[in-house]
Point group: C2
């Protein structure tokens, strides 16, 4: 469902790139995708794609290059800590074809944070930032993320990622916000599918989704309408509500 952009508030698109063997093995259940997706919807950024890749340089490079060419922004999570399996910063430098070294700004942050003797060689790895990147501050545990071009590289630990995402979101321009209305329906979607499709045809500029769920062993449905035009959205929502009421009566 393509939405027309206006000059005042263009549509801003983004992808999420989750980096980590522990997500692919199922050992850790990802919490960052849902968080970033909901946050972006609320500030007017459309997440169009998500990829999860392992801690393998070639996979990270290929995914970030595919995504950054296609969307306005890429939000990556994971792989920026001090251990041998944290290879995201080096992979990003490689993807962009730039150098990477200890960044004086990042070194200053870590020097300030760690007690004398605690800033060992491994922790200094967290100050390795690709050339030309801006830092993303981390108020939780100090070691920064970074923004390189249109790619925002953040930690994987949810509390740290969330603090970093606040920093990122405050800096990037956002677009026209996608508005939504939900019409809950106390029956399976199969009963209203035909009528719903007809309403979708009448409102091609409103994206109408039908999401079945199990409630106490039987089906219920949420009809979710989305548009950047509040007037059209309300009209379409009223059409769905009227249709559902008529179907309830017919079935009742």
């Amino acid at each position: 469902m393509a939405e027309p952009a206006t000059e005042a508030a263009p549509v801003v698109t983004a992808a999420i790139l989750v980096i980590g063997d522990e997500i692919l093995s199922g050992r850790t259940k990802d919490k960052n995708i849902g968080y970033i997706a909901e946050y972006c919807t609320n500030i007017g950024i459309d997440i169009r794609e998500v990829r999860i890749v392992p801690d393998v340089e070639g996979e990270i490079v290929a995914a970030v290059n595919a995504l950054r060419a296609r969307y306005d922004h890429v939000f990556s999570t994971g792989g920026i800590g001090p251990t041998h399996d944290d290879i995201t910063a080096d992979s990003m430098a490689k993807a962009f074809g730039v150098g990477i070294d200890h960044d004086p700004r990042a070194v200053a942050i870590l020097t300030d944070h760690y007690a004398a003797g605690q800033l060992n060689e491994a922790r200094m790895r967290m100050a390795r930032i690709p050339d030309g990147a801006d830092l993303i501050l981390n108020k939780v545990s100090k070691a920064p993320g970074f923004t390189l071009g249109n790619v925002h590289v953040m930690a994987g630990v949810p509390s740290i990622m969330q603090a970093m995402f606040d920093e990122v979101a405050a800096k990037i321009p956002t677009g026209a916000k996608m508005l939504s209305r939900t019409v809950p329906v106390g029956m399976g979607e199969g009963r209203i599918a035909k009528q719903l499709g007809e309403i979708q045809l009448e409102y091609p500029d409103v994206s109408i989704g039908s999401y079945p769920k199990m409630l106490d062993g039987s089906f219920a449905t949420d009809i979710v309408l989305r548009s950047r035009d509040e007037g059209r959205l309300d009209q379409a929502a009223r059409a769905v509500e009227a249709m559902v009421a008529a179907m309830m009566q017919a079935n009742g």
Copy 2:
């Protein structure tokens, strides 16, 4: 970390393809990725990549064609219901270049399930199955998924997806199971990163991951070792445990 396959039990790879605008908008938080990933690890299938794409035919086709060419199996979830936004079956047929029509086996299942007059045109859409596909039975709500080539197409509602995944898992050959050991460490990973990297170099055939987490406001770490060779895995785990004990003593 490449793992050598043995003749008896080859490495079986797979990708997950989640289809649905509601996941990308953050409205629905995905529960299927973590479930499938953990299940696959337990039965000896390596999930190597995950993609989440919107309910857009071109996106579904491009993603499934990229993934099915690269991995032994693709598990897709979402978009096989009766409403206008359920376009997965048609998109899969397009990706494979095959026809799609009402499948007599699926029609029989639905005819048997629905009371007279309830099997309307929309619900009959759920019997549209690409040519050459095998059905995946659905004991929860009957409308089947399908296997087309190496792609297993399942529902998005978690309880239904899980029932379908049991059917799929029972039919596909699995590989040598990836074994794992977890060593919990009561300190931040920065303190043990150098020593851990040295152990990784000694055990290149064991994948060693370091996963920081926040516990009551301070960092703890899980060291996760993975290998298909139990002997090597135990040796590497003992090396990590000994290193951690030595570090605790040094820090204590």
